[in-house]
Amino acid sequence: MADLGRAALVVSLGLLVYALVGGSVAAVTNRRRLAISARNALFCAFGSTAIASTVLAVALIRHDFSFTYVAAHTNRTLSTPYALSAFWGGQEGSLLLWLLVLTGYGALAVALNRTLLRDLTVWVVPVLAGIGTFFAFVLVAVASPFDTQTAPLDGAGLTPSLQNPYMVAHPPMLYLGYVGLAIPFAFAAGAMLSGRTDERWIVATRRWTLAAWMFLGFGQLLGAHWAYVEVGWGGYYAWDPVENAALMPWLAATAFLHSVMVQERKGMLKVWNMVLVALAFELSIFGTFLTRSGVVNSIHSFAKSPIGSWFLAFVVISSLFSLGLIMWRLPLLKARTKLESALSREAAFLYNNLLLVALCLTILWGVLFPIITQLVKGETRTIGRPYYDFFLRTFGLPLLLLMGIGPLIAWRKTSFRALAKTLAWPGAVTVACGIALIAFGAGSSHPGLIAYTFSAFVLSTIVLEVVRGTRATGSLTALISRNRRRYGGYVVHAAIVLLAIGIAGSSAYGSSTERRLTPGQSVSIAGYTLTLRDIVQRQVPNATETRALLDVKGGWSGTISSGDNQYINPPEPSREVGLKTNWLRAEDLYVIADSVNPKTKVVYVKVLVKPLVNLIWVAGFVFVLGSLIALWPDAREQRRLVTRLAPARAT
């Protein structure tokens, strides 16, 4: 069946090249049938890519080791979900998933907008096909998942750390996010190519952008949780270049989601929005380059491979294309109005954008600096946690504050007196909260104290907004249903606050200790006492498990086990941390056992107490809830758009 997969990919490539060339010719020469034909080619490319993906999925499930890819990433002991997750566990499979999502998203976005935005979609088709052509070419010519071999008896297996439920969901979520950013990019490019640079492309792609942003954000949180429970170093985010590669486009997309509101209402920031949408897309491709080129050392990156240079070339070409388009269409992107006041909602959005982009660019510099140093000086340099933490505090804390102030400022302009009046209640709550926090000892960390008080401020402004809005409209449901985007946005803000509290709590107020233990010896930390009871070892299918058993007393009583697994196939170790959650305090007791020796009964343990860390995971669900509220289809808006162009003949 590998031949079928290979043939389907070749057909996809042919169709995408046709959609790119035919679609471009149709758009330039204004030819209707050719444009429809190119659009159909994009639809068919999705179909043939789906066939190729099905072939690979079936091969993975059936453990068909005649596929080199299947043999390299699975073995017979893997359960079906993990065997299937090997689809995105390797380089070639993840590229195929990328192409599948891209053509699927592209076909759906074009199909849904072919009537309302018929003048734009004519250009969107070749742009999407251009991106798809690149991925299809790489899959056909450079990194095929359909290479075959004489089938070995068993495969090499999936890296143990990837055999985790979070790893089944985390990569597809990220791909749905990364690839989703191609849709607003394609429509923005289509708007510039067609010269229709009004707000229609933003309205048409708003939900696509929101969905991509939601997947990217939630995918990162899933990845953070995976790192926390599986990698076993005690943290959830290491500022690893590949982690940063997902964070950067998310930050750019966050800035874009805010600034488009200014363009929709005021006709301002058109150039800025084009830059942001291009930046988000380019960063998503750049992230893929980082993951696949082998230029950075990361647990997330794939082995060094020749596709890195192809990705770099694609990033350069698509960046030049975006930049050229924006420069060409500058006259069409002039703002219709000017900023009336520095104290207005649109100005607040602008400040928010500047902070988000500044944070994004400083992270980008942190990622690029070691690569550039290596290239220019041949030296290996790393940018460590202090760099990122400094900029996170520098830009993140003002962003948090702005998240509270922004919604309280009126559009166009507001007076200091009105703002002061509006801020009175949230301000009082914040001060009271700050005093209480200091009284309870939270003053030991200034960034933590600031993060907590700012969080209290943001939460109080959200409550104030909802209460006042409900009073004005008479009903909470009416308030939310009439402006889902705004109130969904507030729910997302609440999620960010939970995230900030979780990060501040676990990093600024956490405690840790390390100790060598033998049976009967104890270690105490933050009200917990852990006593080593025994070290045990047992054989399970495909692994030898070694565990240190510790009796816990104090904040929680029971037994916690921590140690490692030594897998047989692939022959790799995996650290297994001990974790106990106190949901009342959203706190974790986290035990890392190193050098666990069942013969000498000696273990080196590191115990961490992480207050409020679980709010980070709760924030993920609140974030998804808010995003879903914001992107839920609005029937009235849809009716309005359809009515506008009702008599228009679809192409």
Binding site: R118, T422, N483
Partner: protein, 147 residues
């Protein structure tokens, strides 16, 4: 298995070719093969509707901000006039454009849709209050050039 794969591959390719060629097979000779982009008249009409929506949206936003206490009476008083005036300008521009098109015997323009939903009051066009002078002729957007 290889033969089956070849047959399936050929079937996939043939199906794709058929779908891609379909527009040409359905209409071997098209009476009009031009792309159906919005006409200049339609584009202008959409532009006017956008302006109207933006103006009414700004008014509703101001009303809502005032009712929720984000903006004081004084600021509200100074902003409501110009916003109402621009809304009136946008509404009149739509009426004027429709009249012009009717006079030129242009087929019906798309029906005027409901403005965007928002919080607060139902989307009724705000009247121009007395203290504010009627808009100058220059404020009314010029009609689009005829095709």
């Amino acid at each position: 298995m290889t033969i089956l794969a070849i047959v399936l591959g050929v079937a996939v390719a043939a199906g794709a070719v058929l779908l891609v060629a379909w527009p040409f097979l359905r209409e071997p000779v098209a009476a009009d093969d031009r792309l159906d982009a919005p006409t200049a008249r339609e584009a202008r009409w959409l532009e006017l509707l956008d302006e109207r929506d933006r103006a009414l949206g700004a008014l509703k936003e101001l009303e809502f901000d005032h009712r929720t206490g984000k903006i004081g009476d004084e600021d509200y008083g100074s902003q409501i006039g110009p916003l109402r005036r621009s809304a009136a300008v946008a509404l009149r521009a739509i009426d004027r454009y429709r009249d012009e098109m009717t006079a030129l015997d242009v087929p019906d323009l798309p029906s005027e849709p409901v403005p965007p939903p928002d919080e607060g009051t139902p989307p009724t066009p705000a009247p121009v209050p007395e203290p504010y002078p009627p808009p100058d002729e220059a404020d009314i957007p010029a009609p689009a050039p005829q095709e």
